[in-house]
Amino acid sequence: MNIRRVIYNFILVLVSFILQTTVFRALDFGDIAPNLMIIVVASTGFIKGDRSGLVIGFFSGLLIDIFFGTYIGFFALIYMYIGFIVGKFHEIFFSQSIAIPIVFITIADFLFGFICYILMFLFRNKFNIGYYMMSNIIPEMVYTALIAIFFYPVILHMNNRLDEREERNAKKFV
């Protein structure tokens, strides 16, 4: 991790968080906004591997915790594990095609919604899972997948440019 990549990731997480809480809150459908943070975490994990995925996941979650979490570390934990698990698929799948990462982002968002339901609602005796599924988890998943189609190529492109630059720098030092 060189300093350029750290700054890039910091800005990426910050920008997606700000967009998610402001612009996409205004563009919501039926009070459901897309989850940009999941896109960032899952894409980074998918492109760069489990290590980057879990670090980005940890910091994205922490940012949400600072603003909207009741307990610091709660969302950090969830996002971190999602980043880690998606990152495990980095070695198995080819990240240049668009379809597979979108599927992973969608699954990651579904997983996130489901975990949130279990930890924040099921534990408070709210058992109507069908309702929460149809009104919250599935719509968010679809919206997120839709946004991911446009957002993932941007993340991939930025990442490839950083990779190229790193490679060039590495060559210089041979």
């Binding site: 700000i18 809480t21 009070d31 943070m37 603003f67 990152g87 041979v174």
Partner: protein, 289 residues
């Protein structure tokens, strides 16, 4: 013949599963710490104030400006019609106003008689703009653009359209986080204005999508409470100032224990289209005496 690229000196890297393990422990540690204390709020809140809040403020201002401009352009024709209608309404209202003036006089008389405090007009208020809403779709909390520098503190009540929105649960130098009463994890002690019966108003994600919030634990043996009754915050709440409008009762059901009643309330605030809120600069614990 590509040359073998040797990375400059293999750096020592922690295997990711150990990193995961360490960070997991760290998270659990911070969860436990924040569960029991509020050790972290200071430094983290100032971090948020420096890096995130200014951007949120900017984007929200631009967004609001753009929405307002587009609204302006599209509504000129509507305004002309509305102008006609409003002129008629003014006449009606003037008549109504005079009757109300008379009633108001009567009301002050009665209030003096009962030595009741006036409603919340007397509290000091400050306006604030909503700059960000909850990152997830589960709870309904939001961030406003005023903070402790403007005299805001935790547990201050927040209002919009003359009715209760929620209370501040976290405050930074120039921002504050508000938990709304419709959030699934929020509940308010309320009171039916007509009969002074106490009840508990709690947010419910399931009902909110239909435009309601839930109430429960209403003790009303003589069936005095009816649909359409006003519900306000009660005197026994330790966080909410008394007498702030919450909403109107829309359904009442008997509980299975036959002692209490529960049902739904239509909130008086339009939570969907809320841009500006009022913060009451007074804490319940301070006005007790």
């Amino acid at each position: 013949m590509s040359p073998i690229i040797k990375r400059r000196g293999e750096e020592f890297t922690l295997p990711s599963k150990y990193l995961l393990f360490i960070l997991t422990l760290l998270c659990i540690g911070t969860i436990v710490i924040t569960f029991n204390t509020n050790l972290f709020t200071g430094p983290l809140n100032s971090f948020a104030g420096i890096f995130v809040v200014p951007f949120q403020k900017g984007i929200t201002t631009v967004g609001t400006y753009m929405r307002e401009t587009s609204d302006k352009l599209s509504s000129i024709t509507k305004l002309l019609e509305e102008n006609e209608r409003l002129k008629k309404e003014i006449d009606e209202l003037t008549i109504q106003n005079t009757t109300l003036e008379q009633e108001k006089y009567e009301l002050t008389e009665l209030r003096n008689m009962y030595q009741l405090d006036g409603p919340y007009e007397q509290y000091e208020k400050v306006g604030a703009r909503i700059i960000a809403k909850d990152a997830g779709n589960w709870y309904h909390s939001f961030v406003i653009d005023k903070g402790s520098d403007d005299g805001l503190a935790i547990d201050m009540n927040v209002m919009a359209n003359g009715a209760l929105v929620g209370r501040i649960i976290d405050v930074g130098p120039d921002w504050a986080k508000v938990q709304s009463i419709i959030a699934d994890n929020a509940s308010v002690s309320g009171m039916v204005l007509a009969s002074s019966d106490n009840l508990i108003v709690s947010g419910d994600l399931e009902l909110y999508k239909q435009g309601f919030i839930r109430f429960s634990k209403l003790v009303d043996d003589v069936d005095k409470v009816s649909i359409g009754d006003k519900v306000v915050t009660s005197n026994i709440s330790d966080k909410y100032l008394p007498g702030i409008l919450i909403g109107y009762i829309s359904t009442i059901d008997d509980d299975s224990n036959n002692l209490t009643k529960s049902g739904t309330i239509t909130p008086a605030v339009d939570f969907e289209h809320m841009n500006v809120v009022l913060v009451l600069l007074e804490l319940k614990k301070d006005i007790g005496d």
